[in-house]
């Protein structure tokens, strides 16, 4: 195992893909001498079997087991093969990593994450004031924790509306029974609160980037979703050059002194920009930026190591990202090793 040892999560490269494989691929295609270590929550995560981008993987306990369980696993990995940096890529685990960044630092494991304050600022319940400060709009949104509140909220909105979880899942609903069904579905899987939001029209345009923690950018790329999965996940996309949107992203970095990866999800209708979500991590389409010459994972790693980083965001608009499915064949022994040893074969 060579060079920098970088662990990354979100290697569930499924129809609801995590960002890990895109991050790992970006690092592998950079000029870094890197060993990628996948942090997996499911032995069947495809990333566990993708040796061409993930050199080695380990199975971690679910984030709901708490920080100590994850931290001990990271220390075990460090002891076994060395660990220079960790890049958490999943929403559910980020609060833990953010809260306990100093534990990692003390053990000599680098990370480059937003502060707790920055993380809280972009929480869905705080997006309205933040959007206003950025000079854009935020759809009318209600936080609900039971069906009565859901019904009350829907009286204030027109159908179709959006019912979404605090971390995951969002559905467009066209009537009350549909809304209640989706409300229960999300609550059962991810818990409360459930947000009910005004549906805004426009094109879904997204920006991926990295903030340097001092208000500056280490690079940004904007893209439009052309095709999405049934869950609304980015499948095919096209790079765009949207000056106003990039200005919003720059303002966001300046206002928050954002540190680390981010994704802005916006709806744009003519000159009107609505903020939908700010993800405090790389999105699953991060490799698109790499393919356009803006290797954000590499820049983040280099910057966190104190290296000089190219911060330009020059890329060509009109380039397409086409995602496709692909099959790989693995031996049952590989699954067995993951299940019994908690790690992949060397």
């Amino acid at each position: 195992m060579k060079g920098l040892k970088i662990a990354l999560s979100g290697i569930n490269d499924t129809d609801n893909p995590g960002p890990g494989v895109g991050v790992a691929r970006s690092l592998k295609e950079s000029n870094l001498d890197v060993t990628t270590i996948g942090l997996s929550y499911d032995i069947q995560d495809p990333g566990n079997y993708m040796g061409f981008v993930i050199d080695k993987s380990f199975v971690l306990p679910y984030p709901n087991k708490g920080w100590q369980a994850i931290f001990l696993h990271l220390l075990k990995i460090k002891q076994k093969m060395g660990l220079d940096m960790v890049l958490p890529n999943l929403d559910a685990e980020l609060p833990l990593y953010i809260k306990h960044q100093s534990d990692l630092e003390k053990e000599g494991i680098k990370s480059f994450l937003p502060t707790q304050e920055q993380f809280d600022l972009r929480a869905k319940e705080h997006l309205a004031p933040l959007s206003e400060a950025l000079g854009i709009f935020y759809p009318k949104t209600f936080k609900t924790t039971n069906v009565e509140e859901l019904k009350e909220a829907l009286k204030e909105l027109d159908f179709p509306a959006v019912v979404k979880g605090n971390y995951y899942k969002a559905y467009i609903v066209s009537n009350l029974s549909d809304a209640i069904r989706r409300f229960s579905e999300i609550a059962n899987e991810w818990g409360y609160p459930i947000l009910v939001q005004e549906m805004v029209k426009g094109d879904e345009l997204n920006v991926v980037g990295v903030g340097d923690g001092k208000g500056g950018s280490l690079g940004m790329v904007a893209a439009k979703k052309m095709t999405t999965t049934a869950m609304g996940k980015f499948w095919n996309g096209i790079s765009i050059e949207h000056k106003a949107l990039m200005e919003v992203a720059e303002k966001f970095l300046k206002k928050t002194s954002w540190r680390g990866a981010f994704e802005l999800e916006c709806m744009v209708d003519g000159n009107t920009i609505y903020m939908i979500e700010i993800n405090p991590r790389f999105p699953a389409w991060v490799y698109f930026a790499t393919g356009l010459g803006v290797n954000l994972p590499q820049r983040l790693v280099d910057f966190s190591m104190g290296k000089e980083v190219d911060t330009q965001s020059n890329y060509q608009a009109g380039k397409m990202m086409i995602r496709y499915t692909y099959e790989t064949i693995a031996d049952i022994q590989e699954l067995s090793h993951l299940a019994t040893q908690g790690e992949s074969y060397e």
């Binding site: 094109d203 345009l205 052309m226 996309g237 765009i240």
Partner: protein, 79 residues
């Protein structure tokens, strides 16, 4: 600057708006009108150009040009 000015256009009639990511397919006349708009010509000048090329009455081409520019406005491509 109106968005039509940044529209990437090829001769086979495919146009890409780098700002919105939208793409459009255009017929020969539409390509000509968009090229003329990009050159800064007004509706009357474009209609005259079309009437010469396609040997039609300027009044007819003027109506067509107005219709087409209305469509461009609907797409937010011209102000």
């Amino acid at each position: 600057m109106s968005r039509v000015e940044t529209l990437a256009l090829n001769d086979s009639g495919f146009a890409f708006d780098p700002m919105s990511g939208e793409s459009f397919t255009l017929n020969e006349t539409a390509i000509e009108i968009i090229k003329a708009v990009k050159e800064g010509k007004n509706e009357r000048e474009i209609a005259e150009q079309l009437s010469t090329v396609y040997e039609v009455e300027t009044l007819d081409s003027f109506t067509d040009v107005l219709d087409f520019i209305k469509q461009l406005k609907n797409f937010g491509l011209v102000d």
